[in-house]
């Protein structure tokens, strides 16, 4: 065991306490009223990066939430450079959503840390910061140069990160980019994500009468916008579960038989699906297994819908407006803008003349693939083997990390998706958690990875 791993062992309780401090900051990027907290999380992280010995630590303003940059170039010009990406913003969370504890008052229970952002992504990015701390501690050196880019807008579509990367190619130049913002199916079997789905999100607004009306006086003579929106939403899928938007699947690269066989090895079984979702029965596109539906096929999901009076009690109102939020997960070779346009056009096309409908395509990111035959991937495999004592398997991930394609395109550097979370960590859900053992193994595996890259493996 190296000096750095010894340092992790001696300081792990302290690392955990620091992570708790970071988790106490409700850095909810989507909420305007939390903007100050997002800024506070950036300042907290920047201070920690300074403290562990990173140089040129910057909090770079954007149009909304800042990007943190830091570097340590002490390995020298001849050494490799690793760019580590993560995000310090989190999804919204309220105790009343079904949390056992206050989501921003972290609790350790049965080997897990419960808090919003524990796994997505504060815990995962913090594992890298602690790995670097362990290498630099007591006058130590890292075998590779290190750059951190930690953003505050991942949960709202990384709005400003793409431009930042494109405008700072020299500053961010690296031999490999590592992103720890994903999960593995079980804590025993390490896995490396090699494919991420893309994302297109849309907002639909349906307007009926000019103002809320009394449903007794006007009901039956006005096309209720909640009903009209329900009718639109009901037409987005075919009865068999496939997506009804014309041409939606046109550009989908078919799964090869070989890939389907490979995916089956790591796939979610129906038993695991039942246990993790608690839903009554599987559902989805015919002809594909659950693990294909969730990882390898595109989807169209209603993230939210509302209209009229939906609080406890009753209000016999005929509402003026209804709205819904939709997101499509995309696979290769679907273009997010093309898909956004197809969905928008279809909705406008099926929207009846008795209401007025507006559709806004909010944002998009293409699906991303990682080449699994690079030397950098070999270093990652070796790092996981040392960290877990077991060879990692490769898998697809259903979620989306828009920056992957930015890094690939702008920096021409290979990307390693070094997931340190678990799939059932409850990212975006109540009672999100991060396994303490994953945090520990994550720090150690990151050190092994930097060492393997430094050794030119």
């Amino acid at each position: 065991m190296s000096q750095a791993h010894d340092y992790v062992k001696s300081n792990f309780e302290q690392f955990k306490g620091q992570l708790f401090d970071l988790l106490r900051i409700p850095s909810i990027s989507t909420s305007a009223e939390h903007a100050g907290e997002v800024q506070r999380a950036a300042e907290w992280l920047a201070a920690d990066l300074e403290r562990i010995g990173m140089h040129s630590v910057e909090i770079i303003p954007t149009g909304r939430h800042p990007i943190i940059y830091a570097e340590w170039m002490g390995a020298g010009e001849g050494a490799k450079t690793i760019l580590i990406y993560g995000h310090y913003d989190v999804q919204p969370a309220l105790k009343s959503d079904g949390w056992a504890n206050e989501p921003f008052d972290p609790v350790e229970r049965d080997g897990f840390i419960y808090a919003r952002g524990a796994s997505d992504d504060k815990g995962q990015v913090f594992a890298h910061i602690k790995a670097v701390e362990a290498l630099l501690a007591n006058g130590g050196k890292s075998p590779v140069n290190i750059k951190f880019v930690i953003e505050g807008e991942e949960e709202i579509g990384s709005t400003h990160l793409g431009d930042f990367v494109a405008n700072n190619k020299a500053k961010l130049a690296a031999d490999v980019c590592v992103i720890s913002d994903s999960g593995m199916p079980t804590p025993e079997q390490p896995s490396i994500v090699y494919a991420l789905r893309g994302l297109t999100t849309l907002e639909i607004e349906v307007f009926g009468p000019a103002t809320d009306l009394h449903s007794g006086t006007y009901g039956g003579s006005v096309h209720n916008p909640v009903q009209a929106l329900a009718e639109i939403i009901a037409q987005l899928h075919n009865p068999d579960g496939s997506i009804a938007v014309p041409n939606f699947y046109d550009d989908v690269l078919p799964l090869s038989d070989e890939e389907r066989t490979e995916l089956q090895k790591t796939g979610m079984t129906e038993a695991v699906w039942r246990q993790t979702t608690g839903a009554p029965k599987p559902w989805g596109e015919p002809g594909f297994a659950t693990h294909e539906r969730t990882g390898a096929r595109p989807t169209l999901e209603i993230n939210g819908m509302a209209g009229g009076y939906y609080e406890p009690g009753f209000k016999t109102v005929l509402p003026a407006k209804a709205w819904a939020k939709i997101s499509c997960r995309l696979v290769a070779n679907q273009d997010p803008e093309v898909i956004g346009g197809l969905v928008r056009d279809y909705i406008m096309n099926i929207s009846p003349a008795t209401v007025r409908t507006e559709v806004t395509v909010v944002r998009g990111a293409p699906a991303a693939f990682v080449d699994i035959r690079t030397p950098e991937m070999k270093a990652a495999i070796s790092a996981y083997e040392q960290g877990w004592g077991k060879k990692p398997v490769f898998m697809r991930e259903g979620g989306s990390i828009p920056v992957v394609s930015d890094f690939q395109k702008e920096l021409s550097a290979p990307v390693i998706l070094m997931g340190l979370g678990l799939n059932d960590d409850g990212a975006h859900s109540p009672n999100e958690h991060f396994m303490v053992e994953m945090f520990r193994k994550g720090i150690n595996t990151a050190i092994y990875f930097y060492e393997a890259i430094g050794a030119g493996e």
Copy 2:
């Protein structure tokens, strides 16, 4: 002009000030946190009834919000007795719903009083209280005995009023019941409502996964409950606008040609419909005109629906639950319990096995009719003629007042629906208002009505 009408003239500004005080109390019956305010409104009204000389004023507790009772029997045993019904509870209202002023801070603007409850029903019931005050003032007498029943649960289905009426038949015994809780199409042409629709309300809950899930990780494999609910709601109407629930129309008493001709005279024209609703295009059951759809045919309306993340911003969540609130307006001879059961059974029948659906039939009231050939109706016609200088027309009203059938059944007394509001007062909507002139004419017309009943007209 009688002494009572003189009193109204001299005291009208004071009456208006008192109404403003009553409107300042946010007596929202559906909201548990406003229970104290509902009680405060009851106490305010009871104090005013005492002050004007009513006897036996009681605030009678129920399972939720109290009923106010008061009587003045000074006309003697030989005189007729009028039972006046109204309600002091109101619909919810927030300035952010689109109000120009705070909904519980009344404002007079261009001849209208703007406040929640101004028309529905505080202003209308208060017109009767002021009419009685004018008759009893300065040692005066009313030509009829007067009883008031003013409830605090009309906006939540008059939950306890039916039992109260059934259990207090002797106390409430009257020769005629008058209810002022409806509107007329224009302030120039007085009208009397002779038919009200019934009501059945239902709540639907659709449950999918056990908890909110990450839409990237599980989307496409779980039947999204928002989508499933939209699919259910989309099947409640046929594409032509008629209701798709089997047997829904079975018991509907067809409109006679004569009635259709009569209704046409007072009917809402398409031009008025466009102006008052602001909706793009008429919609509804084929074969019926707008004024028939809104007043003479049954409807099924979605009053509200929600699920997932519907606040500003985005949360890529696959929600655990979605819910909707539905109300059906009923006509003769539809039974509210039968219709509630038909809608519930149909929803359960079309609900897919991939989600779990629960339907609760919340409450019901049958449609109500008023005989327009009684002596009491003649007195009402005469009162409107004196108050307005114009003969009233008869019309149907789309809304529901559950107590009408209770009074008819339990007290065997004719009911007069003496609407003092206007159809476009915005009851249940933002910027609800009551025309100052309607308040003045309402008080005077109520006095003429009591006098006409007293004179045995």
